[in-house]
């Protein structure tokens, strides 16, 4: 009797308390996103009597009427609207701000111009006007902040997708998973240093082309950049010689084998465990140039580049023009970085998941400007990233809770419990911020949630007693319990036999 509590105390595994009910709540959580939209009516779009009746707030949109000048002030003073919100300016039909055939203009910042339709003038009441505007504002919203397909794409790993929107699946598979940081590596592959000596001004090019984009993306993730030159780096396939164009070609189906031998030499980043985006510039040697990449339809790809989803991009840069017969080997070649970086920048945008949604007809987009990324594109990315982070953290936490629930042997230390509860708190905060439309905070909290949940999930202390098979317990207890069972079993047998005898005697007496 004394031994049992002692044995119980010494053999139990330590399991700290986990907020299981909150985790279960998270599993069945409904996400609700909301974005602030400010609709500004320019002078001439609203009649005075309408002006009086305009309600201040509506369920989704907030509307103000202001003088026309203010629009232009906003345009010029680069009015900074908070992250995640939108300002839609409604302009009269007769306005010459927009070209004739365009209805909507989307600016670089979080602003859009919307031309009021001609038939709108017919509707006299505010309700009619608003009813007319609503679908068009929604359309603008879908382009500029988030649409249903974006969100499903972000959730594609967690939620079973209905077949049909393959485009967005391809999009979501191409982009890297959300991560707190990325390593971007540019590699110059020189398979033949004997025949050409390559010079690339990567430092300047990165400063000019890549850094502005990364500075803009800073709220989404941390980026680190480096570059290297690899010599004698060969592609995995031998390009075929096409005599009609007297050039070497790489077919689209052989591209899959190109990277493998190169990747062994790229080297993983020793100093961090963030995902690496590789950008390779391959300069074919004199005997295999020019080299062109062909797509599915056997057409030359104009950029001569391709990318691999969640890995990086490769560009082939032909330099065969420099091999003049009188040239002394090795030839010194300066690489035109503007051309190269244009391709890499495009691939970088794709791989980071900045989706270039094709504008609906009647939409006019502003050029992306020096940073290569409009504010609303950043917002779009942040929306989908926050949703993805929330989803990932939720699955991590729920599966951890499930695992701990199923396997009783796992030790749950205090620090793990702490991580789990901090992840849960951050998740709840992130969801609340998403509902409130505070995009910046939502992303921040979702990042914290994901970090805490991963730390808890991958903590090595979970593994200590995970594999403690029952046969070992059996082997330890059997030397004690087997000999102890013998007298007990014998006495049980005796009791049984005595009882039987008694019954027999009773029956005998009855008879």
């Amino acid at each position: 009797m004394v031994g049992v509590p002692l044995w119980w105390r010494t053999t139990e595994t330590y399991r700290a308390w986990l907020p299981v009910s909150q985790i279960n709540e998270l599993a069945n959580m409904q996400l609700q996103l909301s974005a602030d939209v400010e609709v500004v009516f320019a002078r001439g779009t609203v009649t005075p009597e309408q002006q009086k009746k305009v309600p201040l707030t509506q369920t989704q949109d907030e509307e103000h009427t202001v003088d026309g000048d203010l629009i232009f002030k906003a345009w010029d003073h680069r009015f900074e609207s908070p992250c995640g919100s939108l300002v839609v300016y409604v302009i009269p039909e007769s306005s010459s701000l927009l070209p004739e055939d365009m209805d909507v203009y989307i600016g670089q910042r979080r602003t859009a111009l919307l031309r009021i339709g001609a038939q709108m003038r017919v509707g006299r009441t505010v309700e009619q006007l608003l009813a007319h505007l609503e679908p068009r504002i929604k359309q603008v919203l879908q382009v500029m902040s988030f649409s249903h397909t974006d969100i499903t794409a972000a959730l594609s790993d967690r939620v079973r997708l209905s077949p049909g929107n393959k485009e967005s699946i391809a999009d979501s598979m191409r982009a890297f998973k959300s991560s707190p940081g990325y390593e971007i590596t540019f590699s110059l592959l020189n398979p033949d240093p004997k025949s050409h000596r390559l010079h690339w001004d990567i430092e300047g090019a990165v400063q000019t082309y890549i850094q502005p984009l990364l500075t803009k993306l800073a709220p989404v993730a941390n980026f680190s950049l480096d570059s290297q030159t690899l010599y004698y780096a060969m592609l995995g396939v031998n390009p075929r010689f096409d005599s009609s164009s007297s050039a070497y070609t790489l077919n689209s189906d052989s591209l899959a084998h190109v990277i493998n031998p190169v990747e062994a030499r790229l080297g993983s980043n020793a100093a961090s465990s963030n995902p690496v985006l590789n950008f390779l510039l391959y300069v074919p040697d004199a005997h295999h140039s020019p080299l062109y990449i062909h797509d599915n339809k056997k057409q030359e790809v104009p950029s001569n580049a391709f990318h691999s989803p969640r890995w990086g991009g490769i560009m082939v840069y032909n330099v065969n023009g420099f091999y003049r017969p009188e040239a002394v080997l090795p030839v010194d070649i300066n690489i035109n970085m503007a051309k190269v970086m244009g391709v890499f920048l495009a691939q970088l945008r794709l791989l980071l998941g900045v989706q270039s949604s094709t504008a609906p007809p009647g939409f006019l987009m502003a050029p992306c400007g020096s940073t290569g990324l409009a504010d609303w594109e950043l917002d779009r990315l942040m929306w989908s990233r926050s949703v993805e982070n929330v989803a990932t953290a939720t699955t991590t936490i729920t599966s951890l809770a499930q695992l701990l629930d199923q396997i009783g042997n796992i030790v749950i230390n205090d620090n793990i419990a702490e991580q789990v509860s901090s992840a849960v708190t951050s998740l709840q905060l992130a969801v609340a911020e998403l509902e409130a439309g505070n995009l910046g905070f939502a992303l921040q909290y979702s990042k914290e949630a994901i970090m805490a949940s991963e730390r808890a999930f991958f903590d090595p202390s979970l593994l200590h007693l995970l594999y403690f098979p029952d046969d070992q317990k059996f082997a330890i207890y059997i030397p004690l319990f087997l000999p102890m069972c013998v007298p007990i079993l014998l006495s049980l047998l005796k009791i049984v036999s005595e009882a039987r005898q008694k019954r027999r005697e009773k029956q005998a007496k009855k008879d």
Binding site: D226, S227, D332, A366, G372, S491
Partner: protein, 648 residues
Amino acid sequence: MAAHRCSYSALLLIICSLSMFIVADSQETTLTGDNHATELDNPQTATETAGQMAEQPAVEERRLWEATEVEEATPDDADTDKQDTSTPETAVPSSVPQPKDDFQEELVIRPLHSGDIYASFQFRTLWETDFMRGNKVSHYRLFPKSLGQVISKFSVRELHISFTQGYWRTMQWGQPFLPSPPGAELWVWFQDSVTDVDGTWKELTNVLSGIFCASLNFIDSTNTVQPSASFKPLGIGNVTDHSFLRYATLPREIVCTENLTPWKKLLPCGSKAGLAVLLKSEKLFHSSFHSQAVHIRPVCQDWQCKTTSWELRQTLNVVFDLHTPGQGKREWSLFKMFSRTLTEACPLASSSKIYIDITDNPQGEQFEVSPATPLLSQAMVLGDRRTFSVYDLTQQITFGTVRSLNLLIRWKSSEGDMLRPLLHGERYVAGYGLQTGEIHTLMYNNHPYRSFPVLLLDSVPWYLRLYIHTLTVASKGKDNKPSYIHYQPSKDRVRPHLLEMLVQLPPNSVTEVTVQFERALLKWTEYTPDPNHGFYVGSSVISSLVPSIVAMDTNSTREQPLFSSFFPCKEESSYFVRVYTEPLLVNLPTPDFSMPYNVICLTCTVVAVGYGSLYNLLTRSFQIDEPSPGLAKRIANIIRKMRGVPPL
């Protein structure tokens, strides 16, 4: 493009005027409205050039590889000026910037007196850059990216790592160019900006173990020491605070191909060109001694040390045993040793040379080298002036008409005496039984008339408990009192013993250092999988400035062969030597590992027997039994029953 620029300048002008208008008069809405119309017209034309990364439509299935359709997506707008000045795509040899890095390779071949061949490869990459400053973007050309990232992330000032298979026999082979102990050795100087040195060291060893595919992750506080004097920085910088130094050895580490492959990957030419084509693992590891190392340190670029640069030295030393492969005729060739010949230098190398040590063979009476080379060079190596034949691989003439170089050495006689090395060391364990023992370290000074001081470093694991009061240092039978002793006692399961002392070695003498120890009992989980093999204790390190026969070259920046320029020379009269002794293999008392289970079974049986009797006592009811009839009576009764007669 010109049209674009026009429209942009117009745009700028308009914006300027526009803001003025607004400031001046906010009533002129019609005018500003018109201006804006022009502003908004521009985007329409500009969108064409903007980054339209239209993905190929119709993604039928999951395709891993897709072509990127990109029009020239240059960030226009702000960069229009830049584009004008950007260098056009031309081959301009004159405008090529001077590369800031430099690569050299060399191979030294020294026929040893024992008849073996010592081949020493050295590859050096110099890079004029500053890891110390926290520049975020790092662009690597010849310097390997993985090591550069390690240096900048962990704020390493100096890093020396070596992997060695076999023991260097100093008495038979002389001094190596670069000494290394058997197993793995790692010592690192951190920059003084590092606050948590131990944590950084732990992370660094883990990262390096990944890079070099070695078990460096077994380096922890129980085998790490901070030597106070033995390991000074070899590069620039006068750091004396040894709290930024960490030193660890893993004498048990076995070196093989998986360590060689990542090492070769760090070379700019890989194993595709240059001297590295000779590094074929099946031949390299079929040898008596193999050692590969990586040394990173900051060095001076010039005599005044105005500019500094990082030096990465990759060395590989190998001793081939001649007697086993070629019986009878003693002959050696590149092809026989490495199963390859040389056809070219690494195109990235600024110098690529092979040196053959012919000092002992001035007239060619001992061996004959073919093809002959007219180039001779002299270098001061380890206090000695040596003569080398030089083959310059960057010259096409070296390869001759066959376009391939296969060096051949043919021995004529095996006479000749080797100069005994001036300093060498030995170590062994004495004593019997499994309780106590004694470590003997012998240091030989073979100099006929000069005495010199040596620094002895001993790092002994905690499970050998040194009795430091039994430490004796004796030379020529007399007590030799060390002038400096630094002893750090061990802590069980936390840190090892560290014993450093400065001993003066009298001329032509043997100095013996003995210390007794007790073997500790380990916990049963602390034993290795094969505990009866024994436990390794790393080599002792003897570092010394040995008096030189010839004047040494103190200018470290002058052009000289790589093998002679590793240890910097501070003065002309002496040279620096580091000697490693043998590692020790010590048996510890090893329990029978099935014992715990036996004990469990035995005690359980005893408990069960006791329990059984107690149980019986408690549950049995005792009653007086009728004495049963005797055997004869029972048999008689059975017989009577059979006969039908009533029993007795």
